[in-house]
């Protein structure tokens, strides 16, 4: 049984879907990577799981969480705000991109962790030891705990934010661009921390990033989003090595690989579609060098290789077939 199951998630803004037909499952202890560029709907999906969407966005579809040790599955989509307060932080936490904005600037870090625990465990006794342990888990000391957020560096704040997310021992942590604001060495340190927490605590993780290389390193499975839809998903390494959707392929091509080919890859022309005026058929069609008449029909997300799904009429793709563009198509 999956820890988290999302079926047919749709999020509408003024009647238009900005996230559509998203099905996702996360197994206990698994790391799922959600990839895509600005506006593709990955953060909206995360906020829908936390039931933190702004009022202008209307979700539909089912989101089921099965926290270990409880018999009753939690239907997040049906929960009231009060009911969600018992779920957030306790069973699923969210680590935001800008840790400075998510931490309370006028509270010491250890007080913030203490409050998060007290909220869910009002009868808990002394928590000093547990907080110290939490800080140590993320590579901080009690001295960091006594600091205010502004006294910490960006990397330390991100670690404090992770400690806070872990405070009530949730089964699932969603991390939205947790390393984007960090320098490359600090990013590597935080990725190693998340990997260690996963093995030590059996934590499941949804990692959201625009950086496919980060996700391929840190995750078991990947889902690539474009214009509100999942266009490809599968085992992380398989998607990274042998993508099955032209968008994934072009994204990977534009990522310089150290020690690999030098120079600039052919850019993807144009910009993502306006969600209020989506193109007919495949949403990537207007930018796709392989598009043909059949692409005026919307392709379904289907299995095209072992465990790998893609929403492209031409999948499965052989490595050599990427070289043949279709200038006679309809882009």
């Amino acid at each position: 049984m999956s820890l988290l199951e999302i079926e047919g998630l749709e999020v509408r803004h003024r009647g238009q879907p900005i996230v559509a037909g998203v099905d996702l499952a996360v197994e206990p202890g698994e790391a799922l990577g959600l990839a895509g560029e600005s506006g593709c709907g990955k953060t909206t999906t995360a906020l829908a799981i936390m039931k933190l969407l702004p009022p202008a966005l209307e979700p539909s579809g089912t989101i089921t969480l099965r926290p270990p040790g409880t018999d009753e599955p939690v239907r997040i989509d049906r929960r009231t705000e009060r009911g969600m307060q018992l779920v957030r932080w306790r069973h699923v936490s969210l680590v935001f991109q800008g840790a400075m904005n998510a931490l309370d600037p006028v509270q010491r870090v250890d007080r913030q962790i203490l409050e998060a625990i007290r909220l869910h465990e009002p009868r808990a006794g002394k928590l000093g030891g547990r907080i110290k342990e939490l800080l140590n888990t993320v590579g901080l000391t009690s001295a960091h705990g006594r600091a205010y957020p502004h006294q910490l560096s960006g990397g330390q704040r991100q670690r404090a934010m992770i400690a806070l997310a872990l405070a009530c021992r949730p089964a699932l942590v969603i991390a939205d661009e947790p390393t984007t604001a960090l320098d490359v060495i600090m990013q590597a340190q935080v990725l190693e921390l998340l990997e260690r927490l996963r093995t030590e605590l059996g934590l499941a993780l949804i990692l959201i990033s625009h950086d496919l290389a980060v996700l391929a390193e840190a995750c078991d499975r990947l889902a690539v989003m474009y214009a509100g839809r999942i266009v490809e998903s599968g085992p992380a390494e398989q998607v990274f090595r042998a993508p099955q959707h032209p968008y994934t392929k072009r994204l990977l091509d534009s990522l310089p690989v150290i020690g690999g080919a030098r120079g600039v890859a052919d850019p993807i022309p144009g910009t993502p579609p306006d969600p209020h005026d989506p193109p007919e058929g495949c949403t990537f069609r207007p930018r796709c060098p392989y598009a043909a008449d059949v692409c005026l029909e919307e392709p379904a997300l289907r299995e095209v290789a072992s465990g790998q799904r893609a929403a492209c009429h031409f999948a499965p793709w052989e490595p050599e077939s990427w070289a043949v563009r279709r200038p006679g198509g309809t882009p």
Binding site: A188, V257, G259, P267
Partner: protein, 308 residues
Amino acid sequence: MIAVRDLHVHYRAARAVDGVSLDWRPGEVLGVVGESGCGKSTLARAMLGLVPAAAGTVELDGQAVREWRALRRRVQMVFQDPYQTLNPRMRVRAIVEEPLVISGAGDRGPLVDRALADVGLPPERFADRYPHELSGGQRQRVAIAAALVLDPEGLICDEPVSMLDVSVRAQVLKVLMDLRASRSLALLFITHDLGLAWALCDRIAVMYLGRIVEQGSAQQVIEQPRHPYTQALVAAVPAPDRDRGAKLVAGEPPDAAHIPPGCRLHPRCPHRFEPCDREDPPLFDAGDGDHRAACLLLRPSESPAAHA
């Protein structure tokens, strides 16, 4: 083209640039790579006289620069954030034309049109738009057009694509590299992105705490890094199946007001040995041509076996 000689830039107690010497050759694509706070942006600004140097010189064609205005005509700068650098109340044509107005050039229309065409923005479609009508990538291309219109020999690009989405980055980088070919423009990329430096640069200089700790060709620096800090940077680049081993440096850099004595990396360095906390290493020859690194392990008298 521009040579920097033992340049120092201080902000109060912080030694943001702490003795940098660097050559940027005509037509060359040079990368200055480092993490936030290493002084790379300050170095770029000091090269154009936008921040005062505490010591050292910037030379243009072998002469120490005294008149910055002349240098800034020949070398222009493109900044990171295309949302803050374009005047929102000016149309694209006026933005690109402004440097020509300031320099008193006549017959400006064709020059503006050419600059816009060169960055892939057809003037008939884009010249009359306002910045808010453009995407991030298009804005950055307008900024590049404004930098190009005076026909400079060099462009200093400070993190030109770090705020852009992956697919848009390639569009902007392609424009820059095409310009290099068509206008034989020299490019200086200030970046934290080692992958970008690898893909585009002829030579790379790695900065740490105000000092260049390694420089050489892109292949030498990325494929055969000799300085432990460069090795850590290369090891930190995310990739599937990455095994970093013991290459990462520990902790975080101190701030530029508290530069450690001796080698500035020694408190974090996995290879430090006895003299590292006392001796500040100069750039030593790494033994393969134009490749140098500031690590005492490369000092000719040091036997690598003694501290392997």
